[in-house]
């Protein structure tokens, strides 16, 4: 739906001029917003360096407030940038604007559970991005920060003032472990889902476009992937390739092209999990993309667009893709939750993050022997972190689904 153009516009040339002026205006505002947020960021960086403490030990309360203030500054800068950019983007490109996204957003805002989910996810992202500022102790996964003399005196401590959530069996602060662990969970969830949905989109559109035996072959592959007991496959894949060093050498050279030990060492041993999950998680996106494209491609509006003279690119990007995009967004959001769960389960079984790495599943794995003792808090807190974040992703995904497609409302 188009917004009425200002009254003084009389001819096509006027309109073009107006758009050009607004584009110029938009560029100026974006530059301003960028400069403004850059100033805030620089200020925040300097401020955080002033109040930084590198040694291992309980943080001063004032230092912590400083850091939280810095994080708030960053978030504010980002928010201002987003807001200005959105407003001017909206005004400049009003010509092409459709109302769908705004309607979706309005429906989404009305849904309380979905808003709660969004809040949880935003908090989680902020915590993950600013982990180095928010954690009361330095990165526990780095051996540089590990002081054995201090740690040995603080093994498996219950929650106290110096360690708000207690310490784990290595004497590391549990709150810091959880805060840095959120990075692993989020990074793994996002990267797996993005890769998997890319595979799903490519396979799905190829199957829908070519049809015939290509379609049949891809369907059989999809059936195999879906019938495979998911967790078992990941366990086999990870355990097979993790322990043993083997490499493929190119003949006559010293170049090693495949080195499993090095690949496993990437991301604290989570790279193999990433590969396994990305290879197995695409079937949801594949099915949705395939069926949507098959049904949308035959619809009248595509025909109408073609009749009006739209080229293939316009049809794909303006008419087919937006119809496929919304279920993919929902699937990705819900998929991140399941990836986080799977990572935790694998780490619990001992096939996940490597020794010394910080991850929520790993923390439960390390605390599992204490479940029958009085130190059950060692398992309790990491679990709460997992539950809350999965709750966030699930309710966000459900809310998005309801907002995108109000007819599907349950």
């Amino acid at each position: 739906m188009e917004r009425p153009v200002a009254r003084r516009v009389r001819s096509e040339r006027d309109l073009e001029e107006l758009i050009a002026r607004r584009k110029e205006n938009f560029r100026k505002k974006v530059k301003f917003a960028l400069a403004f947020s850059a100033i805030i960021v620089v200020f925040g960086q300097v401020y955080s360096m002033l109040g930084r403490e590198g040694t291992l030990g309980p943080l001063d309360m004032s230092v912590w407030t400083h850091r939280i203030f810095v994080v708030c500054l960053y978030v504010l800068a980002f928010y201002i940038f987003l807001k200005i950019a959105y407003r001017y983007f909206d005004r400049i490109f009003f010509k092409y604007r459709t109302n769908t996204w705004e309607l979706t957003w309005r429906r989404f805002r009305r849904n309380n559970a979905a808003n709660l989910g969004l809040l949880i996810i935003i908090t989680l992202v902020i915590v993950a991005v600013f982990a180095h500022l928010l954690a009361p102790y330095p990165d526990p996964s780095k051996t540089v920060n590990y002081d054995p003399n201090y740690a040995l005196k603080h093994l498996e401590e219950p929650p106290s003032k110096t360690h708000i959530l207690g310490t784990d069996r290595n004497g590391r602060d549990m709150l810091s472990v959880l805060i840095y662990g959120s990075r692993i969970s989020l990074a793994l969830g996002l990267s797996v889902e993005l890769t998997a949905s890319l595979i799903g989109i490519i396979f799905g559109s190829v199957a829908a476009y070519y049809g015939g035996w290509t379609d049949k072959l891809l369907n059989v592959i999809n059936d195999i992937v879906m019938a495979f007991p998911f967790l078992l496959f990941v366990i086999v894949l990870v355990s097979v390739f993790r322990q043993v060093y083997f490499s493929i050498k190119l003949p006559f050279t010293d170049i090693i092209i495949f080195d499993s030990a090095k690949i496993f060492a990437l991301w604290n041993g989570l790279f193999l999990i990433f590969v396994a999950l990305a290879l197995l998680n695409w079937s949801g996106v594949y099915r949705v993309v395939r069926s949507r494209i098959l049904s949308v491609k035959e619809m009248e509006f595509v025909e109408a667009a073609r009749a009006v003279g739209a080229n293939d690119r316009r049809i794909i990007f303006r008419h087919i893709l937006p119809n496929v995009l919304s279920p993919i967004i929902v699937l990705v959001t819900l998929g991140i939750a399941s990836v986080i769960l799977t990572e935790a389960a694998l780490s619990y079984l001992g096939f996940g993050a490597a020794e010394g790495a910080v991850s929520w599943g790993r923390a439960i794995f390390e605390g599992r022997e204490y479940a029958t003792t009085s130190k059950a808090f060692l398992v309790f807190f990491p679990g709460i972190a997992i539950v809350v974040s999965i709750l966030g992703f699930n309710s966000l995904g459900d809310g998005l689904r309801d907002a995108f497609d109000p007819r599907m409302k349950r």
Binding site: A227, F228, V236, F380, I386
Partner: protein, 315 residues
């Protein structure tokens, strides 16, 4: 219909072959030598050579592939590397436990989910409804193994209500006491999904006109809800209970590990550590057959529960 089923069964074999090939390829590509792991400290080249010959690992890969395939088809299973037992006997000795756990877990989930779903649909948008829905959201979000650990903390360490571990006999007081916590752990996750589905399916049915007719006839509310509404709302519920079978498989692996329940899942994990290929291949195939067959049965059940569903010839 018949054609459809035959086609599905044909596809099933293709899928099974695919899964078998992948698992076999993974086992072959795995760099660890099972003979060395089995020998442990007694490892020496001669003994290793003898073991490898005995297990047929010295033959070419293609020959191994078809030999294992043949033994799977004729149900003449090879020997396990780790347990020095026939794989068939080994799995048969563990299968009842996993099956027992799975059945009780599904029972628990149905017992929780269906009443909860019906009540929350009947009292739509009430406090009970909201509580049920929040509980089901949390139920989906809680990791299985963590819930198990928390149940151990509360009901075993603190309250001493139940025992944990593997029982001698399944159908005894001890067996029931020991299966309770794992079954609740596995069951609640499934119950959360089933309850939501029961609710939404009931909500759809309750709005239909024949429910109004049934009420107008003067039938009691119980008969209206249970006989008229619930029966028609059953179809998607049955489907989802059937489709949860893979969940039981995956969940059982973790839950058995948490509770020391000596079933198939734990056998699987230990076999992987020992590179016990016959067990890995056979167990994976068994689980896959379970998943595929359940899907097929659910497909066929669909037409019997709801005669409106028909499978057209797919072009």
């Amino acid at each position: 219909m018949r054609e459809y089923i035959l086609k599905k069964i044909g596809l099933m074999f293709v899928v099974l072959m695919g899964v078998y090939t992948i698992v076999f390829a993974l086992c072959v590509a795995a760099p660890g030598d099972p003979a060395r792991i089995a020998l442990g400290r007694a490892d020496n080249p001669l003994a290793r050579q003898i073991l490898r010959e005995k297990w047929g690992l010295d033959k070419p890969v293609i020959q191994q592939y078809f030999q294992t395939l043949k033994s799977m088809i004729t149900l003449d299973f090879p020997q396990s590397f780790r347990y020095r037992e026939n794989v068939g006997d080994l799995i048969l000795s563990r299968l009842p436990r996993t099956f027992f756990l799975g059945v009780i877990a599904i029972g628990v989930s149905i017992l929780i989910a269906i009443p909860a779903g019906i009540v929350s649909a009947y009292k739509h948008n009430s406090i009970i409804d909201n509580i049920t829905m929040v509980a089901s959201q949390i139920g989906v979000a809680v990791p299985n193994f963590w819930l198990g650990l928390m149940l151990i903390v509360v009901f075993y360490t603190k309250l001493h209500w139940f025992q944990i571990g593997a029982p001698e006999h399944l159908l005894s007081l001890e067996g029931l006491s020991k299966v309770a916590l794992p079954a609740i752990t596995l069951g609640t996750g499934m119950a959360a999904v089933t309850a939501r589905l029961t609710r939404s399916s009931m909500l759809e049915v309750i709005r239909e006109e024949y429910i109004m007719t049934a009420r107008a006839k003067g039938l009691s509310e119980r008969v209206v809800i249970l006989k008229h509404a619930f029966r028609n709302a059953l179809l998607p519920v049955v489907t989802v209970i059937g489709l949860q079978f893979p969940l039981v498989v995956g969940g059982a692996v973790i839950t058995e590990q948490v509770f020391g329940w000596y079933g198939l899942g734990q056998l699987y994990i230990r076999s992987i550590a020992a590179r016990d290929y016959p067990v890995i291949v056979t167990t994976t195939l068994l689980f896959t057959i379970g998943v595929v067959v359940t899907n097929l049965v659910v497909d066929i059940l669909y037409t019997y529960i709801d005669p409106r569903v028909k499978y057209e010839k797919v072009k």
